[in-house]
Symmetry: C2
Subunit: 131 residues, 2 copies
DNA sequence: CAACTAGTTTAGAATAGTTCTAAAATAAAC
DNA sequence: GTTTATTTTAGAACTATTCTAAACTAGTTG
């Protein structure tokens, strides 16, 4: 059983052909940010034909099983981040590109843990920049 | 010339009937968060019939002229905030409600001013909570 | 491995939020 | 009051995403 197959099984997901192909693209190289559409095109470019419905399925199921993190940047598109550790983002408004900011670079205090008795699921920080 | 009319003119906008009605709803009471749909329904409830196309027009033009701020929370809908001063948000995922966090309550350091020579337009912080 | 079961993929239809179109209405300027 | 530019509107169009239901596949059981 290879690394990617293990990664999927550990997340409680069946390692299907499509999920493994997508995982190979997403998780074998450097960390990346994708949209459903950008992922679909990149796979087509590599002669990997997976239906758009499956791309959406896989992105959603990977997100709900903790393999990806969804980022709300632009109300017209969902971005997904292969880096699931706590971190923040620069967003370059002209180019649409994202860049990570580590929690060492940017401090938030007090880091909220609870609100009205509810758990904090996630702290999203987006610094929007021209250019 | 009343306050709302002045507010629109100062922003470089013609004070049309529809813009004044929407301004009255948005800017005469306490600060609020709306979506196109929530604003449309609230106006219908008050027997103010403005087409949905105009609601979208007005929200967009108010945002581009600095009377509203758009918040990226949920990729399926755009939220607009009548509070245009720097502040942050709690987002209650189950109810879809927003609550403000003042910059006194939550500190970010170092507050970014520039990135790669580009100005920082805006620092968005969203704390997602269950409930 | 053959049969079975539950989960997955797919094309295409459906949906939801938003923008576009072009005609009628209105605000501001002359 | 006439003219001109802007705004509003209904409905069509568009785009990102989800749904549907049939075909397929992974994992399980005998």
């Amino acid at each position: 059983m290879n690394d990617l197959e293990k990664k999927l099984r550990d997340a409680g997901l069946r390692p299907t052909k499509q999920r493994l192909l997508i995982s190979h693209y997403l998780f074998s190289g450097p960390q990346m940010h994708v949209t459903a559409d950008s992922l679909y095109s990149e796979l087509i470019d590599r002669d990997i034909n997976i239906s758009l419905a499956t791309i959406y399925n896989v992105l959603n199921v990977f997100t709900s099983h903790g393999l990806l993190r969804e980022i709300s940047i632009d109300p017209s598109r969902s971005y997904f981040d292969t880096n699931i550790k706590r971190h923040y983002h620069y967003y370059f408004e002209k180019t649409g590109k994202l860049e990570d900011i580590s929690i060492e670079e940017l401090k938030i205090s007090p880091m909220p843990e609870k609100k009205n008795g509810f758990d904090v699921n996630c702290v999203d920080v987006v610094i929007r920049v021209d250019g």
